[in-house]
């Protein structure tokens, strides 16, 4: 049942047109941040307004929507955003990655491989990968125009000099089709390889910063690295305590006052899909 006081998917048609035009230009120029006149949404800036606007512009009544935050469908903000679209767009929702046609995410890419026909919408807080090196938009825009990414390499190399490793664990910068350096949103770098050559359409929405960018399917996305320090997708070196998966990204959970801990899949759908099929971890009931 949709809320009749508002237009389908909340936004008015003129706003959707504006966002849709930005999405198309984003797809035509992979990795380039298209400015768009982000609207004030009924949830706070920084809480997924960019992703929500992109989803609202993309959804049709036939879609099945999945919303995750930190990989989980049941985190409060995911619940809140899913509820928003149930109310304003009346779309079907699911927690199963494979059943979803549109997936809005914060901070994770699902473990299950995505397919053609799916759209992954990322919530992005700071879309500019160069922002922490240069706070001025006027400057970073020039740097992208001139492909001047030396500063980023210097920063990464300074990490290596100091720590022996690149000290960026999430929001790890990537280069798209050899041209634009792009912020993949604060996903753990474990997820970076999934960005490349993905069969699904990937859309990125930054509401407060008023930017939309995109990766068409099968786009080449490389994590920045050096020949002597190649990129490495890392995760906690444990199997999942519930489903025993050894290849999924894990959350660390502190289980008692003595500091005992266990590791469980961050992607709750992935974990719940595996357990009934006989995969058990050491902490499973």
């Amino acid at each position: 049942m949709t809320d009749r006081d508002y237009n389908f998917a909340y936004l008015d048609e003129q706003t959707k047109k504006m966002i849709r035009r930005a999405i198309l230009k984003g797809l035509a120029i992979p990795g380039y941040q298209v400015p768009f006149a982000s609207r004030e949404m009924p949830m706070p800036y920084g809480w997924g307004t960019g992703g929500v606007q992109v989803s609202a512009a993309v959804l049709t009544p036939d879609d099945t929507l999945k919303v995750i935050d930190q990989g989980a469908d049941d985190t409060t903000n995911a619940v809140s955003i899913r509820g928003f679209f149930e109310r304003t767009a009346g779309v079907a929702t699911t927690t199963h990655t494979k059943d979803a046609t549109v997936i809005q995410t914060r901070h994770r890419i699902p473990e299950a491989a995505l397919a053609e026909g799916q759209v992954l919408v990322y919530q992005v807080p700071i879309p500019e990968p160069l922002r922490f090196l240069e706070p001025r938009e006027t400057e970073t825009r020039k740097m992208h125009a001139l492909e001047e990414y030396g500063l980023m390499h210097v920063k990464l190399y300074e990490d290596i000099a100091r720590h022996g490793h690149i000290a960026t664990a999430y929001a790890y910068p990537v280069k798209v089709e050899g041209r634009y350096v792009m912020d993949p949103s604060p996903i753990p770098k474990f997820d970076n390889p999934k960005l490349s050559d993905c069969p699904a359409i990937q859309l990125f929405g930054a509401g407060r910063e008023q930017r939309i960018y995109a990766l068409p399917p099968y786009t080449r996305v490389e994590s920045l690295d050096f020949a002597d320090h190649p990129f490495e997708a890392s995760k906690a070196d444990h199997p999942c305590g519930l489903c025993g998966a050894t290849d999924s990204y894990l959350d660390e959970v502190i289980t008692d006052d003595a500091g005992a801990r266990m590791f469980v899949c961050s992607d709750t759908d992935h974990c719940e899909d595996r357990q009934p099929r006989g995969h058990r971890g050491k902490d499973a009931a």
Partner: protein
Amino acid sequence: MYVAVKGGERAIEAAHEWLAEERRGHPAVPELSIAQIREQMSLAVNRVMAEGSLYDPDLAALAIKQARGDLIEAIFLIRAYRTTLPRFGASTPVDTGAMACDRRISATFKDLPGGQVLGPTFDYTHRLLDFRLAADGEAPAAPRREASPAPVPRVSEFLNREGLIEAAVPDDTAPPDLTREPLELPAARALRLQALARADEGFTLGLAYSTQRGYARNHAFVGELRIGTVPVEMEIPELGFAVEIGEITLTECETVNQFTGSKSEPPQFTRGYGLVFGQTERKAISMALVDRALRWEELGEDNVGAPAQDAEFVLYHADNIQATGFLEHIKLPHYVDFQSELELVRKLRRNVEASQQQEAAE
């Protein structure tokens, strides 16, 4: 045995119900009406209308009630509501020169045509808690005088006649609208003024104050501050003329600022400008000072690196809805990012320990 945390949906519902209960307060205390808030908390209503960019005192009062008096939350409610309103057109520019003034003061002239009209101001009240209000809020009737029907002339016009102040050149180009177009820099003055008009009062005040203390000082005098009502007119294409669609209260501040002149221009005063919905004079004066500071380039002044001179800094950080949203979003779960940092720090520490052990062994 470990059971993954569930129940986000139930937790949210319960939190909302608790919030509603807290908003209402003790049920033995009578509930506030929208009209009470509109009439008796009118300066809060004005701020919500100004920073919410929507002139509707009843909706602003409702937002304040719903937000439990948190004005930024109320502004947010109004902004989100504003997004859903269709735009039928734009009014013709309001003529603040024809304002029916409730208050009009000038700090630059002792007396002047139109007079100094104090109006309903806190300025010369003694800030002593009035305990009578705790018992009985009824006010004695203020003395009345016939309003003079003639428009009140602008102070800047007196200076303008002698060429002592920079000319404000009329400009018919449609101003940009940052609620419809993404912010782009460098921003023209019209866009900067729009951003400042809806900017956070506290942020604008702090910036304005910083200019007074020497961070891009611009020697502002309040040339004129006027508060009153103006008619809003809209061009109706089918009629071919403008019709009045309503009346709004505005606060306008024009500052008169120093200018040393240049080779091509003789010394003359310059202007800073503030215009805000409702009776909001702290905001309007602050806006005028920040506007003036941002004009350093066109007036040939030095950029001394002051925050109030930096248009990109000011415009990107003046909006309290953007700021509060991003600030508060760090309450959201970040355990995926945190976990990746945790792993990294552990790894880096292992490396350090290993190399220390190796050094010790050697």
